[in-house]
């Protein structure tokens, strides 16, 4: 569109950020030899960067800063101060599950807190949805069967899957025929990559049939990657490393 090289055609994409990493690097490589592009970049960037000033300035709500730093606490693995306030084991469990869920979303490769917020917001939406088409179709994108782990008997089974619904995704684990948890006990789901184990979250089983569920929101664009899944029965829901016995497993057996 400008300059003498075919690559100059990517100028607009370069200025507006609509360019892939590889193309950007190639474009930057040609710049020292292309005065036309250098000049155009300067002109277009100045206009591009002025565009956001066509807006009313609005003060953010006062409590937003506190919310951002509470989210930072969760991100850093510290229970947010607001969460400590709640008394009772169930609240504490929810807080630590939130911490682990947040950690998992991060580990899964990205950070778009909005998805988590969307998820919670969806929880409070009218049910059943009206009209029904207001909720996108759910589709299972990937799944991995889970069997009783070695030495855990032959009781029960499970499935781990990624469920896509419109633009959002959840990582979901179901187990059936699991022993009921007692007191603070919790099942913990581990993603195994090589010798590394990352917690994807915890759940309890209070159901007579031994049904347990874990659901963690994922960023739509992020692939989740691991070699195997293990589920352990832990003394509580607060662990960062497996302590209890492995009761379910799926995928390739973890080494060691």
């Amino acid at each position: 569109m400008t300059g003498p090289h075919p690559i100059c055609d990517g100028l607009l994409e370069y200025v507006t950020g609509e360019i892939g990493d590889e193309e950007r690097e190639a474009f930057e490589r040609h710049l020292p030899d292309c005065e036309d592009c250098r000049r155009e970049i300067e002109t277009l960037t100045a206009a591009w960067e002025a565009l956001p000033f066509d807006m009313e300035r609005i003060k953010p709500p006062r409590d937003l800063k506190r919310q951002v730093f509470a989210a930072l606490d969760v991100l850093e693995g510290k229970p947010a101060p607001g969460m400590r306030r709640f008394a009772g084991a169930r609240r504490a469990w929810m807080a630590s599950a939130a911490v682990l869920a947040a950690a998992f979303v991060l580990v899964a490769g990205g950070l778009l807190w909005g998805n988590v917020a969307d998820w919670f917001r969806r929880e409070t939406a009218t049910f059943p949805p009206n009209p029904p088409a207001a909720v996108p179709v759910s589709e299972m994108e990937w799944s991995m069967p889970l069997q009783p782990a070695e030495g855990a008997g032959d009781h029960g089974y499970g499935i781990a899957c990624v469920v896509r619904q419109g633009g959002s995704k959840q990582f979901v684990v179901y187990v059936f025929g699991a022993r009921r948890t007692i007191g603070k006990e919790a099942y913990q789901v581990w993603l195994v990559s090589g010798s590394e184990r990352r917690s994807a979250g915890t759940f309890r089983v209070s159901d007579e049939r031994g049904v347990g569920v874990l659901a963690v929101p994922l960023r739509a664009a992020d692939p989740i990657s691991f070699d195997a899944i293990g589920i352990t029965l832990e003394p509580d829901a607060d662990g960062f490393q497996p302590r209890g016995p492995r009761v379910f497993a799926g995928g390739a057996p973890p080494p060691g």
């Binding site: 277009l44 960037t45 633009g167």
Partner: protein, 189 residues
């Protein structure tokens, strides 16, 4: 902290100094929030974007280098990416959730800012508005679609029924006209 330039604060953020992030928040939360509000017209969504932007500053691998431009441009580029991801996701999710009509654009809640701030920002805004007067209605619409609503060039080519090359050269031309009528002012924030 208060006297440190943005670039130095960002270096401290990379060393996990919360105070530095807090200072950057005080300097830029309003810009980010206003941007998100302008693009999304939803207080809850704008809050989430602000949160995501500042957490991204905390976790980002990419470096801010003052030589490459102003911090405000850098943080706005991050903001725009997050906003556009969200808009594209919403568009995919449901055709009912497209953005509000243009007449809503001026209906923004007026939260107070100091008269001085308002005056300075007012000048910038007037200047860009002034430059906009040299654009045609189609050019303004193109900027609205591309810059604020995050339609890709390809999507716009399809939407307008025009070849991609035409859309690109229209956008190019639009930005050039704007630049021509903007003062050579630095430090817009």
């Amino acid at each position: 902290m208060r006297n440190l330039p943005d670039g130095d604060l960002m270096k401290l953020v990379r060393q996990r100094q919360r105070q530095a992030l807090s200072e950057l928040y005080d300097r830029y939360a309003e810009l980010v929030y206003s941007y998100a509000w302008r693009a999304l017209r939803d207080e809850g969504a704008a809050r989430e974007i602000v949160q995501a932007v500042f957490l991204r500053l905390w976790t980002t691998e990419s470096e801010y280098s003052p030589e490459k431009g102003r911090f405000s441009s850098w943080i706005l580029a991050i903001t725009r990416n997050l906003v556009i991801d969200r808009l594209r996701r919403l568009r995919k999710e449901s055709a009912r959730l497209v953005r509000p009509e243009p007449e809503m654009l001026e209906r923004v809640p007026d939260r107070s800012e100091s008269p001085e701030d308002r005056a300075i920002r007012g000048v910038f805004r007037r200047q860009i508005r002034e430059a906009f007067r040299h654009l045609s209605a189609q050019q303004i619409q193109l900027l609205e679609h591309f810059y604020w609503q995050g339609y890709s060039l390809r999507e716009l080519a399809e939407l307008y029924g025009q070849p991609l090359g035409t859309v690109k050269s229209r956008l190019h031309q639009t930005l050039k006209v704007l630049r021509k009528h903007l003062p050579a002012e630095e430090g817009w924030r």
